[in-house]
């Protein structure tokens, strides 16, 4: 018990998000609103990449916050707050996926012609091997990368998102996904290899990306 107390104290001192959550636990006015404002975009980004549908992503993100609120009195910091938050998010997304599998929706094959067929950028990706013969603009490249990410399996996708955008260590990803760090290592290695294959033709094109992306990439590199 003493060690739990020490762990809680350690994370409370180190992680400002833990301190905010402790204020939520104490029912401090405005604390929960601050928490929602601080995490909504990050949570939404993860949910959007996990489930694809923007509306469903918002619903799930709301449900995550609701669960955080409901279980606030049982909150005892054992790790970074974001690890706890994304663990809840992953559980909810998994449940939603399972519900969808139980009630499958029939989809028309995407490679058919017609209004449901692939959009031009998706065709570029489906070709895979050769690089496009024209330089893609930022939005086109964004779509291609998004489609490539969507082709990874859900576990790989989550590991990639948490690693890339949440800057989570393998240990933290393992906690969120309830798997071993060895499994995370293997997931990320395979995911990166697959992405490399899917985006092979576009890597060369990205010599001088738009300024925004360059800045982000540099930030990522320095981190």
């Amino acid at each position: 018990m003493a060690s739990t107390g020490q762990t809680s104290g350690f994370y409370a001192l180190r992680d400002p998000d833990v301190r905010l959550m402790l204020r939520v636990r104490a029912d401090e006015p405005g604390a929960f609103e601050e928490l929602v404002a601080r995490f909504q975009n990050r949570l939404l980004a993860v949910m959007r990449h996990l489930c694809g549908d923007p509306e469903e992503a918002e619903d799930l993100a709301q449900e995550v916050f609701l669960r955080v609120y409901r279980s606030r009195k049982d909150y005892h910091p054992q790790a970074k707050f974001s690890t706890w938050l994304f663990t809840i998010a992953n559980n909810l997304a998994s449940n939603s996926r399972r519900r969808k599998l139980r009630k499958p929706v029939t989809q028309l094959p995407l490679n058919d012609s017609g209004p449901l067929g692939p959009r031009p950028q998706e065709n570029l990706l489906l070709d895979r091997a050769p690089a496009p013969d024209h330089r893609l603009n930022h939005d086109e490249l964004a779509t291609v990368v998004q489609e490539a990410l969507a082709q990874l399996n859900e576990r790989q996708r989550l590991a990639v998102i948490l690693n890339k955008f949440e800057d989570m260590s393998y240990q933290e990803i393992a906690e969120v996904m309830n798997i071993s760090t060895k499994a995370v290592k293997s997931l990320l290695s395979r995911a990166r290899s697959e992405l490399r294959e899917l985006l092979r033709g576009y890597v060369e094109m990205d010599q001088s990306p738009d300024s925004e992306a360059t800045v982000r990439a540099e930030k990522g590199e320095s981190a």
């Binding site: 909504q40 993100a61 964004a142 990368v145 890597v203 992306a213």
Partner: protein, 162 residues
């Protein structure tokens, strides 16, 4: 054979770990030495790094303007429901206590209540007849059997003029 074929899955895992900053200091030093001496590994590292950087093009969705207010509304609804539920639970709990107390009172009352008085003795006509013939009671002392006396009575041995 392509460059890719010359790297083992372990090499790839180690490379990804290195790029993610997951190798400790000693392992990083060893891996950097390998990178310096192996152009295939270096090329692979560069490709993986640039692929990873492409993810920066991914759109960063932002919550709709009403997201915070809708979320807080949901939380408020949840809070009201919880309060209502706790009030109902308190009421149900109180009612259960009251019912339990009432049951205990009934059980207690039944337990300590004095026994009911015995039913008043209703002699049969035969008994009355035997009673009326008090002078023959001493026979009862002799025979010590009411049944026998009753049999005598049935034989009309105890008539008015006996």
């Amino acid at each position: 054979m392509s460059d890719r074929d010359t790297l083992s899955p372990e090499d790839r895992e180690a490379l990804v770990q290195y790029l993610d900053g997951e190798l400790d200091e000693e392992a990083s030093r060893i891996f950097e030495a390998r990178l310096a001496s192996n152009p295939t590994l270096r090329r692979e590292a560069e490709t993986l790094k640039r692929t990873w950087e492409l993810l920066d093009y991914l759109p960063r969705p932002t919550a709709s303007e009403t997201f915070t207010s809708r979320t807080l509304e949901k939380v408020e609804t949840c809070r009201i429901k919880a309060r209502r539920r706790s009030r109902v639970l308190r009421w149900v709990g109180g009612a259960a206590w009251a019912a339990a107390l009432a049951a205990a009172a009934v059980v207690g009352f039944l337990t300590v209540q004095p026994p009911l008085p015995p039913e008043p003795f209703e002699p049969t006509p035969e008994d009355i007849r035997i009673y009326e013939h008090r002078e023959y009671w001493h026979y009862y002392e002799k025979v010590d059997s009411l049944e026998f006396l009753k049999a005598l009575e049935r034989e009309r041995l105890f008539t008015e003029d006996t």
